[in-house]
Amino acid sequence: MPGLSTAGAIALALPFTVTMPALRGIVFLIAMYSGSVYGGSITATLLNTPGAPESAVMTYDGYALTKAGQAGKALWVALISGTIGGLIGAAMLIVVAKPLAAEAIHFGPAEYTALALLGLSALTMLTGHPAKALVSSSVGLLLATVGPDPIMQVSRFTFGTRALSGGISFIPVLIGLFAISQAMVLIRSDTIAPKAPPFHFWSGFPTLKELRRLTKFIALGSGLGVFVGVKPGGGSVVASLLSYSAAKQVSSRKEEFGHGALEGLATPEAADKATVGAALVPALTLGIPASSTSAILIGALEVHGIRPGPFLFTSHGTLVEGILAGLLIATVAVSAIAMCLIPFVGRLITSLQPRYIGLVMLILAVLGSFAFENSLFGAEIAIAAGIVGYFMRRYDFPLAPLVLTMVIGPILESNVRQAMIIFGGDPYGFFKQPVAFGIICVAAALIVIPLAVRLRPRHDTTSELEGV
């Protein structure tokens, strides 16, 4: 659905999962996550209007194929490569999560501090304009400090009110930032829902030769998606852009990119879907979200009283196994459902006008934030965050760092203070811990390298990325 982002849709759905059993609720959200990532590509291919930012790359070759009367083939390629990418991402989660969690059990406050710093530095440097991301994440850090501090229980920024004494939950903030602000954008937009051209889905299945040609690119996209998806701040937007650029570099048909190259469609789609499973690796094993969507999943677990982290695998082993199985099933099920629905999707999208979708989103967001805490306070926070989010979007401030820092902030604070207590107030203690020191070096590199690249003599690298 154009305009309704993945994070916004999942944020809206989160309150519905409160009354569900934990596993059912999480798998419901994961399935939605997986489905909306693919759904964004359908509108990008058919209407040249990406349903979500990460699907924007799919407009280059997907829409070119649609214009050439090959929409069916484009949708099949996206579906096949997305399914394979999603399964590789899920496999990555299954293979890596348990050993990583077993290793992370030995992590102390110093290592967690370093991991949180890594998350924050990645968020700041990889999410758009660094200065704006810094402001956004600092606001998130401040919001996370409202309420009692984690060590001495000193009350902070409560302004004497009872409502703030327990702190600000990030779920209403998230609903406001992503759903309400987006609803406001949609309501005031005067765009008309585009109409999908007629197409034949079933007859568009790619030939065996074409599929064989695409294998390398699907593998490339999946690999890059997994690599980028695991890193905090990486996200599917970066993964799809990077994989498109990489596919163009390695392809022998560079000139076809942007004019309907199947490789230009398959690679970013595989990368996009691979990030779904990959983003869950740090979220489940370390409790550190890699993207806004994984932050929502962490929030969903916390709603059910489950704290993500290495102990999740020992204390809630069955739940974790259920989530892993759920991700695999959701990936396959989304593809099967998409196969059935794609022929009708053009008509479905045409009947929905963005302005009225915005109205529905707005009311659902207010009700959802109300339902989350069963009080008006949650809705008040959501509306305030929605207004702030509207202006943040307007001035191009990234929203994800604010929400992610609200999750990472408390982890950072409690661990850095515990570490300093253990080290007797000596900050050099961090450098005596090899794992923590290594992670801090990576975090520093994430800040220094992009800055060094920016300060280098100019040549237009962005044209290489877009190059279409």
């Binding site: 600092s138 401040l142 008040e380 203070r417 962005t462």
Partner: protein, 189 residues
């Protein structure tokens, strides 16, 4: 650096949100028709200075400096708020620096109208009023008023708004009040 990063930011935006308002009619694909109301991409000086001032006021008025660095807790409970405020402060300075050096200060974001449009301010303000009035008017009446106001403000189709409103109120009743047992103030108290 400033000019280039701004350029990069603009190009990225073009990648992420290409041609939102394209139209295709009757199966024949037309080229995108873009309506681009003007908006200023970089935040104004006032906004930046205001953000820095707010950060400063919060920092100085609500943090107890004496609680820094005790024996048992070397960093203390006000360490993290300080870091947050310093982050906002340095971020604001960087933005100010960037804006001063940036050549293209008047870039546009497609989806947003000008802040001079009163409808935007009225709509945002009415969200606050909507929430404030909900306990007094009840969810159903309050929502109907909000939808009515939006219909006038943004020239929405009355029939569609009524349909959306009825569907949402039914959903609120069945799903939230009946199924999820949310204590929404349905009617005026």
């Amino acid at each position: 650096m400033g000019g280039r990063s701004s350029n990069t930011s603009e190009k990225r935006r073009q990648i992420q949100k290409p041609q939102i308002d394209n139209q295709v009619t009757g199966g024949a694909i037309q080229e995108p028709k873009t309506k681009r109301p003007r908006g200023n991409l970089a935040p104004g000086y006032t906004g930046i200075i205001l953000a820095a001032c707010i950060a400063g006021v919060i920092l100085t008025s609500h943090s107890n400096l004496k609680q820094f660095g005790t024996q048992s807790d070397p960093l203390g409970p006000w360490f993290m708020p300080w870091i947050g405020c310093l982050g906002i402060f340095f971020g604001s300075i960087l933005l100010l620096f960037h804006r001063t050096r940036s050549k293209d200060k008047d870039q546009m974001i497609e989806e947003f109208g000008s802040l001079k449009e009163p409808a935007i301010w009225i709509a945002l303000g009415s969200l606050v009023v909507y929430l404030w009035a909900m306990p007094y008017l009840g969810f159903y009446l309050d929502t109907a008023l909000l939808l009515g106001e939006f219909t006038l403000l943004f020239k929405l189709k009355l029939r569609s708004v009524i349909l959306v409103g009825l569907a949402m109120e039914l959903l609120a009743y069945l799903l939230f009040i009946r199924l999820l047992r949310v204590l929404i103030p349905g009617w005026p108290i």
